[in-house]
């Protein structure tokens, strides 16, 4: 295969990854890494480098729209970024000492968890009273709904912060945005309205990924021949996905896709145990 054909196929693959990632809410990296490793037989380290870049592109590209709508809680994002960036740098450092097979297995487990998170039942909750720390840190805010601005308060700030630390480590170790875990921290532990937690999580992914990506760049994980088709493809796909989301209801797609991701994840775990990486 020559470089031209390889680049074009990779571009198309990354486009589909970006499209499905945005439609299902899984994010581009979750699909991209299995695609690169299992289909293109790219070493998982190059795949991680490329996926981190794609996460930054996605997060930064989409944040503009959400900020404009006033949904993103910037103070909350900033505060939790202490946990995610510290975790991400730690994760990137750990990656050197972690066997590649273990990374593949761990990634498989996280993929299954992410798939389960996307199809779970979502119940919206808006807390009227916040914890003491939520007032001290000025984390309580409002967000726009069709019925007007709605005020919400936060619970369990310490719990959410701790989960974010883990999300950061996984992001640094595996090169994914670990958006599912971030939403779990905000939605599950801190009781933030669903829309606010998804958009704030997305806003934070760029900074988290950048913290570990600078380490990966210096280590030579980012190859230009893989980086350019992947970044352009994923970003293009995510843009198309965001447009399509206003017309279609992705519920069925999510279920089919979560099942597919689970199979892919099992294959990664299987390969990891058989030292195929």
């Amino acid at each position: 295969m020559n470089i031209l054909i390889f680049s074009l196929i990779l571009l198309a693959g990354a486009y589909v990854a970006g499209l499905l990632g945005s439609l299902t809410g899984l994010g581009g990296g979750v699909i991209l890494i299995p695609l690169l490793t299992l289909v293109f037989h790219v070493d998982i380290r190059y795949a991680i480098g490329a996926a981190l870049l794609a996460s930054i592109a996605n997060s930064s590209g989409a944040a503009t729209a959400y900020i404009k709508e006033g949904i993103t809680n910037i103070r909350l994002g900033m505060f939790l970024e202490i946990a995610t960036t510290a975790g991400a740098v730690g994760g990137a450092l750990l990656a050197v000492f972690t066997p590649v097979n273990f990374i593949a297995i761990l990634l498989g487990v996280v993929l299954i968890f992410s798939a389960a998170m996307t199809i779970r039942k979502k119940t919206e909750h808006i807390e009227q009273t916040g914890s003491k720390l939520s007032y001290t840190l000025k984390l309580n805010s409002t967000y726009p709904t069709p019925a007007g601005e709605v005020a919400y308060k936060l619970k369990n700030v310490v719990g959410g912060f701790s989960i974010m630390l883990i999300a950061g480590v996984l992001s640094g170790l595996l090169g994914i945005g670990s958006g599912a875990l971030k939403v779990l921290a905000m939605d599950g532990a801190m009781r933030i309205p669903f829309k606010v937690s998804t958009t704030t999580s997305n806003f934070m992914i760029g900074v988290t990924a950048a913290a570990s990506a600078v380490v990966y760049l210096q280590r030579g994980y980012i190859d230009p021949g893989i980086a350019f088709p992947v970044v352009l493809g994923v970003l293009g796909g995510a843009f198309t996905g965001a447009r399509l989301l206003t017309y279609i209801n992705p519920r069925t797609l999510r279920i089919i896709f979560s099942a597919a991701i689970t199979f892919v994840a099992l294959e990664m775990i299987y390969n990891g145990f058989n030292h195929q990486f």
């Binding site: 390889f6 680049s7 930054i56 900020i67 910037i74 760049l217 030579g220 230009p224 021949g225 350019f228």
Partner: protein, 131 residues
């Protein structure tokens, strides 16, 4: 009235931050696209490097010096890496602007929080993490 004015200011800063992010991504993608087109035009017919073996990139692709020297010589792959650098710089720049924004609001707590985040990222950039 005072509160209203303060909120409006807050909102302007948020919109500005959104703009910084968008501009950064568009710039990074344009550079990467340009580099990619050169790369394919120059080496498109060559066979694909063996990516199944991890070798790690050399100084040309991993250091500021290497990347800028390559760009100055018009090397396609270094132009792509320059796009990568801009992409990485975008969220870091965003934090920097947030820091200024919180300082203007005289929000000391958030100036501190933002400084910590910026410190962690700068540590990972310059902390000699190369092993």
């Amino acid at each position: 009235m005072n509160i209203f004015r303060k909120m409006l200011g807050d909102r302007d800063i948020e919109l500005f931050i959104g703009q910084v992010l968008r501009t950064g991504v568009i710039t990074a993608c344009s550079i990467a696209l340009l580099g990619g087109i050169f790369y394919i035009a120059q080496q498109g017919a060559a066979s694909v490097p063996d990516y199944s073996q991890f070798k790690g990139e050399g100084a040309d692709y991993t250091t500021f010096r290497g990347i800028f020297q390559g760009v100055a010589q018009g090397s396609a792959t270094e132009i792509i890496q320059l796009g990568v650098l801009v992409m990485l710089a975008t969220p870091i720049l965003r934090i920097f602007f947030s820091l200024i924004a919180f300082a203007l609001e005289k929000d000391r707590l958030y100036v501190l929080i933002t400084t910590i985040v910026l410190g962690i990222i700068l540590f990972s950039m310059f902390g000699g993490l190369k092993i």
